[in-house]
């Protein structure tokens, strides 16, 4: 531990005076420079986000009309048309992903918090954490190899499966953390009343952790709503409306990706308009999560 500003034994009082003021000044300047520099660094990310949203808004807001939301894409190169199939497709994918992802995530969280014996649970926890770090395109590749290639068809179902894997770690770890926060006394009270273990978890523990679990699910949904890479290999995208989960399915991110590479001005602007929807969705859901968690933490510290 070196503390350089201490090691100055005063020789004469005047020398001491001048040296400390010069020294102090230098330290103050360093301090000020550090504050300004780190402040600028913090601004970079924030300003970039504001700029980007502003730019997307400027490019896309004129095209964000009601027909854009309700019509199918126009023929190539023609003006007008919308992204209704993509929006429907995204909703279908989110429902499919939730169908698999929420039970898998929530029950894994319950296992980790309630049943897991130390060694086995830590293996499962390691696996779940591993899922967090895997690039999402790997999940797409996995489902592509497992489902798409054997069935010779891209499909909405495959897309939903790929997205559901992405949901698992977020939902599972949030559920686990929230269940651990449920006070012991609640469980004990339930057991003292003669409730069985499953009854205790189902009717006492889970309801009191509901807010937290919902937060985890919303975080996961916000994450998958904007995913493109895994869908490219599974749902693939389509210009047509939703007919069956066994056929290629449109999705908003995929549509934006396609339009980005389009030579037509209209489609490029529509890509920006679509991005606006996506951004609004993500920002709103993260604000909602903040709101819910805010309430949650208040209640937590309140007891």
């Amino acid at each position: 531990m070196h503390v350089e500003y201490q090691e100055q034994p005063p020789r004469s009082s005047t020398a001491f005076q001048t040296r400390t003021t010069a020294h102090t000044l230098r330290r103050q300047i360093t301090n000020g420079a550090a504050v300004v520099l780190t402040g600028v660094f913090a601004l970079v990310g924030a300003l970039f986000l504001i700029y980007l949203i502003g730019y997307v808004f400027q490019q896309g807001s004129h095209f964000l009309t009601l027909p854009f939301l309700t019509e199918a894409p126009a023929a190539l190169g023609e003006a007008g048309g919308g992204v209704q199939p993509a929006i429907v497709g995204s909703l279908v994918l989110i429902v499919l992903a939730s169908l698999f992802g929420i039970p898998l995530g929530v029950f894994t969280g319950i296992y980790l918090a309630e049943f897991g014996r130390a060694s086995l649970a830590s293996v499962v926890r390691f696996m779940v954490d591993t899922l967090t770090g895997i690039p999402t395109i790997i999940f797409g590749l996995f489902i592509w190899v497992l489902v798409v290639v054997p069935s010779h068809s891209f499909s909405g179902l495959a897309g939903g499966l790929a997205l559901s894997i992405i949901m698992i770690p977020t939902v599972a770890r949030t559920t686990e953390e929230v269940l651990r926060l449920v006070p012991r006394e609640l469980r004990e009270a339930s057991i003292a009343l003669g409730a069985t273990e499953s009854r205790t978890i189902w009717s006492v523990v889970l309801p009191s952790a509901r807010n937290g679990i919902v937060t985890g699910i919303m975080l996961a949904l916000a994450r998958i709503a904007g995913e493109t890479a895994p869908l490219l290999l599974t749902a693939f995208g389509s210009a047509f409306g939703f007919t069956s989960i066994f056929r290629p399915l449109a999705a908003l991110p995929l549509q934006i990706f396609d339009y980005t590479l389009s030579p037509y001005d209209t489609q490029i602007h529509q890509a920006y308009a679509g991005s606006l929807i996506l951004i609004a969705l993500v920002i709103l859901s993260s604000l909602a999560v903040r709101w819910v968690t805010g309430g949650f933490q208040l209640r937590r510290t309140g007891r």
């Binding site: 402040g39 894994t108 499953s198």
Partner: protein, 340 residues
């Protein structure tokens, strides 16, 4: 004080207290273990779901290995060095892609690490309280931005700007460096790296903030009491304490950068040039190889090569992430994952 170790003295009262708690816990456990049929059902259901999750993780590894086995055995290590993706001659390799993955990620971290750590220091120690909330929210929201939106902006706005203004300027002023030589294309390694840096910035900031927050308040107060400035507190008390965790946070960012697909695929140009250090060159990453090639992948070696690119990406990101988590967890907090 948060920093003081809780006094677990071995006083008789303390021991008695603990024994009592232990017995109480066992009583509860015993009562719980007297099971009702519904308990078995519930446990069984939970176990099935957990087995499914474990099965998915193991299944990913198994499938990727088994379906790339034919290229692994055919090309062996030359798959890692060869840069061709040539269906005509049936020769495949991801040398350029591995190089591109490493180069873009390294350059992205070079920018994002100082920015992210600086931002975290500002937010935890320097920032007035009333700006902290909004500023932190904006940086966090950057992480939630869909990567296709960044790709769209990068492809249509940023890359053309780089080509006409950014890269010529760099060439004029820093052209003596090997990084800024060659024809400005706009699309290429530089564009990909810069966009990646904005994508990993919020991760590094968030993890660093968590790590800085666990530095015991006593550490800071001790130095402040000695008359240190706030920067000196950071420099001599906070950073030494949290160095390992910050490295972990940077590596978590690296994990994200290595596997990012869509934004990179859109701006990197997807053409393998002769590997050079020039950031103006177009390139490939492992993830963009998969995104570009899977539609054309015919059964056989081509298909297998695409899967092996995925396998390599999985291995690289797994190693990075596990190391990162170990580093962050050493600080006693293991919730670095799950940032959305």
């Amino acid at each position: 004080m948060a920093g003081l170790p809780s006094s677990t003295s071995l006083s008789a009262a303390g021991i008695r207290e603990r024994v009592r708690a232990r017995i109480a816990a066992q009583v509860v456990q015993m009562r719980v273990r007297a099971k009702h049929p519904s308990d078995f059902l519930f446990r069984g259901l939970t176990t099935i779901f957990v087995i499914a999750v474990v099965g998915i993780v193991l299944g990913i590894a198994w499938i990727l290995v088994s379906d790339s086995w034919s290229t692994i055995t055919t090309f062996g290590l030359s798959f890692l060095t060869n840069s061709a993706f040539d269906p005509v001659h049936n020769v495949y390799g991801v040398g350029a892609a591995i190089f591109g993955t490493m180069l873009t990620s390294a350059f992205a971290l070079l920018i994002a690490a100082p920015l992210g750590i600086g931002a975290a220091i500002f937010l935890t120690d320097f920032c007035p309280l009333y700006i902290r909330g909004p500023l932190a929210f904006l940086i966090d929201a950057l992480a939630a931005l869909p990567s296709v939106v960044l790709g769209l902006w990068g492809f249509l706005a940023f890359a053309p700007w780089l080509q006409h203004s950014g890269e010529p300027w760099l060439q004029l002023h820093l052209g003596f460096l090997p990084f800024f030589q060659g024809e400005p294309h706009g699309l290429g390694i530089l564009a990909a790296s810069l966009i990646l840096s904005m994508m990993v910035l919020p991760i590094i900031t968030a993890v660093t903030r968590e790590v800085l927050a666990v530095v015991p308040i006593g550490q800071r107060e001790a130095l402040l009491a000695l008359g240190a400035t706030r920067w000196e507190v950071i420099r001599h008390a906070v950073l030494p304490f949290s160095r390992v965790g910050i490295v972990g946070g940077v590596m978590l960012g690296l994990g994200r950068a290595l596997g990012e697909t869509i934004a990179v695929t859109l701006v990197i140009g997807n053409q393998a040039t002769k590997p050079s250090l020039s950031l103006f060159d177009t390139g490939y990453t492992l993830a963009s190889v998969i995104a570009n090639q899977f539609t054309e992948a015919t059964p056989g070696l081509f298909y297998s090569a695409v899967v092996e690119a995925g396998l390599l990406l999985l291995l690289i990101t797994l190693i990075t992430n596990i190391l990162a988590r170990l580093l962050v967890a050493r600080l006693g907090r293991s919730r670095a994952g799950g940032l959305a």
